[in-house]
Symmetry: C2
């Protein structure tokens, strides 16, 4: 039987070993994992094939099956990605701040690993390797709970990781994959605050809400984006069409894709038909509120009246809400009311309006004259992406390696006592 408490205890104990490793030692493990992945391709593909067979029997859609599927090329990519993580700069041990106090105490804030991460994810088995590599790189232990559809694939990858850890003479409990699809274990994991320091859910709104409701461990919430672009009166309309198309069409299934287009009334009659004409080429359906709807009346586009909850919906597909707002005030008010604080953008040539938007919209990423699609660890130059946080504490927006660390105060004295 899976003993989660024991897994937690062992993870905590392993985390103490990982915390004191040098960057070279951690990179060596990552290379061992990559080598091990390459030498065990057949094993991984065989276990994945069983998952796929079960998925077919369970009637999973072709789209889902494709996400679960591992191929020789995809497994090779896992090895390559692991080696890429080895190249990144290790944030652990660096000083955030250092000063000498008036009494001579030498005070510094030193970056350290968080300890033990709990990660709950759905679908794609590559997350197993991805999170394991990022955790080890930052000296963290991790307990992983993947989707039940890829249980065998995840366990195979877990074995590979543990085999590499063993070769490096490190505790195998540094990375542990929960070996049963039993959902009760998720709830148990959520309450393992004695051993797990941070919980990262990677999945839909339901999973995030479950974690918020039930977890006694601090949770990184995010990943959901109801994203806005406001086209201001002074926007360069030709560029605005390009930006809106990019934000909506380039990859509609992701969290930083555009959901709602807000337009200033002075340019609505000119801009909305232009953008509609472009979007219809990519088969985007528009959900327009009455004023926008009337502008779109005689336009060749796929248009429907916006429903009650349409402006509170993350589309993740080729649908776009369209609304004419009175002015910047109403645009900001709409964003305050409907945004999930992921990524929101203003297109304008008015400096005062750009500044007001940047100051008053407190989303994780606030844009001027750019597509919302850039909110991404890779695009922001973080080298990796663990998750995208839309909460207020610890980290906001794309989380890279640094966001898998915390700090301690190091205080060096010379017999100092407090007066």
């Amino acid at each position: 039987m899976t003993n989660l408490t024991l897994m937690g205890k062992n993870a905590k104990s392993a985390s103490r070993v990982l915390a004191t490793l040098s960057s070279a030692e951690k990179n060596a493990v990552l290379h061992l994992i990559a080598d091990e992945i390459e030498s065990q391709v057949d094993f991984v593909l065989a276990e994945n094939a069983k998952d796929i067979d079960d998925g077919k029997d369970a009637g999973l859609s072709q789209a889902v099956l494709d996400r679960l599927l591992l191929t020789e090329k995809r497994v090779q990519a896992l090895a390559d990605d692991t080696r890429s993580v080895a190249i990144l700069v290790d944030p652990v041990g660096s000083l955030i701040d250092a000063k000498v106090l008036p009494n001579g105490l030498r005070l510094s804030k030193r970056r350290i690993p968080i300890g033990v991460l709990g990660v709950i994810y759905e679908a794609r088995p590559n997350v197993t390797i991805d999170i394991a590599a990022l955790s080890l790189k930052t000296g963290n232990a991790a307990i992983l709970r993947g989707g039940k559809e890829t249980l065998r694939s995840n366990l195979a990858l877990g074995e590979i990781i543990q085999s590499a850890l063993k070769k490096a003479d490190l505790p195998t409990s540094a990375i542990q994959v929960i070996d049963t699809p039993d959902r009760a274990l998720v709830k148990e994991l959520l309450r393992l605050d004695k051993y797990v320091d941070m919980l990262i859910p990677r999945g839909g709104a339901g999973l995030h809400r479950l974690c918020i409701e039930e977890s006694t461990i601090p949770v990184i919430t995010g990943g959901m984006g109801i994203c806005h672009i406001f086209v201001d009166e002074s926007a360069d309309l030709a560029r605005a069409v390009d930006i809106v198309e990019n934000a909506k069409v380039q990859r509609p299934s992701v969290c930083n894709a555009l959901d709602t287009l807000l337009v200033h009334p002075a340019v609505a009659a000119e801009f909305i038909p232009q953008v509609a004409a472009r979007l219809v080429q990519s088969k985007v359906e528009l959900r327009a509120e009455p004023q926008a709807l009337s502008i779109l009346e005689n336009i060749d586009a796929d248009v429907n009246p916006a429903g009650e909850n349409d402006f509170d919906t993350e589309w993740l597909s080729l649908i776009l809400g369209v609304k004419v707002v009175d002015d910047l005030d109403e645009a900001i008010a709409h964003i305050h009311a409907h945004s999930t604080e992921h990524s929101d953008s203003i297109l304008t040539n008015n400096l005062e309006n750009a500044n007001r938007f940047v100051n008053e919209v407190n989303s994780s990423a606030v844009y001027v004259n750019a597509s919302t699609r850039f909110t991404d660890g890779g695009q922001f130059g973080l080298g990796a992406e663990v998750a995208v946080s839309t909460q207020k504490l610890h980290a906001r927006g794309p989380m890279g390696l640094e966001e898998l660390t915390t700090y301690k105060w190091v205080v060096i004295g010379d017999g100092h006592v407090r007066e």
Copy 2:
């Protein structure tokens, strides 16, 4: 009837106004609050007198009553403290990081307020003013829930704050004091994640556990310190006696006071009697494990055998656990097993051991050759202290103004779309 949802909604709305205030505007409110406190001393003292009367009727101890009591001098201190907060540097708006990406996007991380703070505290009414001042200084709104013993005092101070907010033309819901002792409201507050961004409990272990168990809002846990000093073989023993005395005796009721003394066997027979002789002067009771006990056998000291849970107890009083450990390894293992990761110190002249202790002990504050009593916002030069965090996320150790902020990514483009 107290409508907590409405309070939350209004606080969120007020937080948007506070977030865009300049430092000068925020400081002006703080001065108005200080003025208002001074002009309403009689009102505050009258309301506090009612609390004290009720406390006497309820049979509260003289020590507790003294903590609840406001005097003219203490009220004046509240006004002075508020003006001191105005002098501090405002962290909001500062850039944490800024770079230009290869594609020309200008990326920066800008400090912003967290939004709405929920603060639950016990006993002393000065926390009401203290938290209100720090929240306003950092552009945060706050919902405060003080102890029922000082409900009237807290409400009086809340009125004063709101009257100052009104004079500054700011929304009074920026600082709201929950106006009933009904405990059901605490549970309701803990689930107000739609409006409250961060929860700070300031009280005992029970309150912290309640927040961890029940809150859907991210919680800052901390305040509890089981603190250790390890006296290594090479420690300067005369200084070690001073440091241990300071850590234990100078203010035993606080979280950074010493709880457990660990001693290397090579110096145990010499050091333990010395430190016991010093501590007996301050009436410290020693709780010693067998080996330490035998050393203390014929010493004039207040000694008892350590009980089963004594090394897992935060004493907050003149009691000190004493244990002889085999070596640094066992000292670190003991700290890993029993520390609350607040403040732990090694006294040594051995550089390798000092480094190992600093590397392997990941408490919020790790000391070499100094008293644990320095873990404090004021001592660390933060200018203020909101709380002391012993958790891993967001903030560790003393939290000052910066720890009441988060950040957003500001991305300035020029028609940028993602390839």
